[in-house]
């Protein structure tokens, strides 16, 4: 009597748990695509426009994991993502060269800008080259906020420091937030510091920031987005067909047309410039 009661209770508990699991819709495995991407494609709202079109067209269900380019590639390296949409060319080339990714294709670009307070204590405004601007910032009394999170923007920032011949690590004027672009800009705004940001995120958040564009238009500041399929030869569980379908979609004429006008209604200028089929070397010329 005692025993059967306990068994009944356990069975009832299990039934509840199983019932709940069945209640939540589970998509068929091969119809799922895991897209690991930088935060700017999600935060700008671009993916919210593109994904419904893709899903309707192909029947795939895209799981967007917006984490920054560095982490996206780390996921790809472990075979935990199917396709990447990232903006960290130096790291991407290494990723493909090491055999983790295949079929790296150019999708679009925009640019980075150097932001700072209106007072501009380091007198960055008016400098011609970004390296020169960074040299001016690199002095006691100013403050530079770095993402410090291995994102595409952080990797670009390190490239610029390297080109300027400065090692900012451990300097008093150099602080790493370890946060996303929006939060890092907020910190820079509050602390009256300088930072490097992508134009799309800056335009989207501008109204809440006291930061001005102090430097723009330099060739080194180009921000280039590529789509990469994770190598199915290395990770058999990768949804290769889905990844290819998504990558093809991103460079399709339809998407490139949408990218061209995306954000014009809200910000007066487009957030990204479509580049499918072009060569990386020809950009910004």
């Amino acid at each position: 009597m005692k025993k059967s009661k306990t068994i009944h209770m356990v069975l009832a508990g299990l039934a509840i748990i199983l019932g709940v699991m069945a209640w939540i819709p589970v998509q068929a495995q091969q119809k799922n695509i895991i897209l690991a991407t930088t935060t700017s494609t999600q935060d700008s709202g671009l993916l919210d426009v593109l994904l419904p079109i893709f899903e309707k067209k192909t029947g795939y269900f895209v799981k967007t994991i917006a984490v920054g380019s560095g982490q996206s590639m780390a996921m790809g390296q472990k075979g935990e993502a199917d396709v990447l949409l990232v903006h960290s060319p130096t790291a991407e080339k290494k990723f493909v060269a090491e055999g983790y990714g295949v079929n790296r294709r150019l999708v679009m670009h925009n640019d980075y800008i150097v932001l700072g307070p209106a007072e501009d204590p380091a007198r960055v405004k008016g400098t011609k080259a970004t390296t020169e601007a960074f040299k001016k910032i690199a002095s006691p009394g100013t403050l530079f906020l770095s993402r410090g999170d291995n994102s595409g923007t952080h990797s670009k920032e390190r490239d610029v420091w390297k080109a300027s011949g400065i090692n900012p690590e451990g300097q008093k004027w150099y602080q790493q937030t370890g946060l996303g672009m929006g939060q890092t800009m907020n910190v820079a705004s509050e602390k009256k510091g300088y930072t490097l940001a992508d134009r799309g995120t800056y335009l989207a958040l501008k109204k809440n920031l006291q930061l001005n564009i102090l430097m723009e238009g330099d060739a080194i500041l180009l921000n280039i987005y590529h789509v990469i399929e994770v190598n199915p030869a290395k990770w058999p569980k990768v949804n290769a067909a889905g990844a290819k379908a998504f990558a093809d979609f991103m460079v399709s004429k339809e998407v490139q047309e949408i990218v061209k006008t995306f954000g014009v209604d809200k910000f007066g200028s487009p957030l990204f410039f479509p580049d499918a089929g072009k060569r990386e070397e020809d950009l910004g010329k």
């Binding site: 005692k2 939540i24 935060d43 799981k63 075979g79 958040l205 809440n208 569980k237």
Partner: protein
């Protein structure tokens, strides 16, 4: 200040126009955290009661483990659940990473020790003689346990509310194992994080207010049940 006012207005606007996306996000939050709390209830109360009523070697150590578990950091739980659920991880064959099921799993792991610890304390706090009395009146062991649980109803309910409150407000694990996927695994907390990083502070505040309202009404309903009985 204007921003907060704007947020409050936005919250009511979203609520009373029954904005489909916000409704979906709110319902999913309830569904995920409610299920996780139910699971933690079964695990937490049963283990908590067993530990409270039995003597065994290493009992102190187990109790200290449970109490530490009450402060289990959600991000750490999220990290471990993610690693286990990875495609190439030990539980990868389940294929549940980045689904609401994974979120329920992570939240149940977070809530269970909370419910367990409070159950343990609640049952232990009952007078020792009560047990003897019940047994002396001819109750079976199972009947005794049931009476004890009923006796400790109020503190146990506090445990349930603490567990639910812990997971409904939790963001670290949910975003890691759920992925904050639009229309699929986006809940109130993860949506708030995303809207903040998008600079939509008014919507973020609105979502926060909806979360608070929801938590308030649920705890209100839960507290009403025993209070009413008490008045009789």
């Amino acid at each position: 200040m204007d921003l907060i006012l704007e947020g409050i207005l936005k919250a009511f606007h979203l609520l009373f126009t029954f904005d489909p996306e916000v409704m979906q996000i709110t319902l999913l939050s309830l569904q995920v955290s409610g299920t996780a709390t139910l699971i933690s209830l079964v695990i937490g109360i049963s283990v908590g009661t067993i530990v409270a009523l039995t003597e065994f070697q290493g009992r102190r150590f187990v109790v200290s483990l449970i109490n530490t578990g009450m402060g289990l950091p959600p991000v750490v739980v999220g990290l471990f659940v993610t690693i286990f659920l990875w495609r190439n991880g030990p539980l990868g064959f389940l294929g549940v990473l980045y689904t609401p099921t994974a979120m329920i799993l992570a939240q149940a792991i977070i809530a269970s020790p909370i419910v367990m610890g409070i159950s343990l304390a609640a049952i232990q706090a009952l007078p020792k003689n009560l047990r003897l009395q019940i047994l002396a009146l001819g109750a079976t062991r199972l009947q005794m346990v049931w009476i004890l649980i009923k006796e400790a109803k109020l503190p146990l309910l506090a445990g349930v509310m603490a567990g639910f409150g812990g997971v409904i407000s939790e963001v670290g694990a949910s975003i890691m194992v759920g992925g904050n996927i639009k229309g699929y695994s986006r809940v109130l907390t993860t949506a708030t994080v995303m809207e903040t990083s998008r600079g939509n502070f008014d919507i973020a505040i609105a979502l926060g207010i909806i979360l608070l309202l929801m938590a308030y009404f649920i705890t209100l309903v839960l507290t009403q049940i025993p209070q009413r009985e008490r008045r009789r």
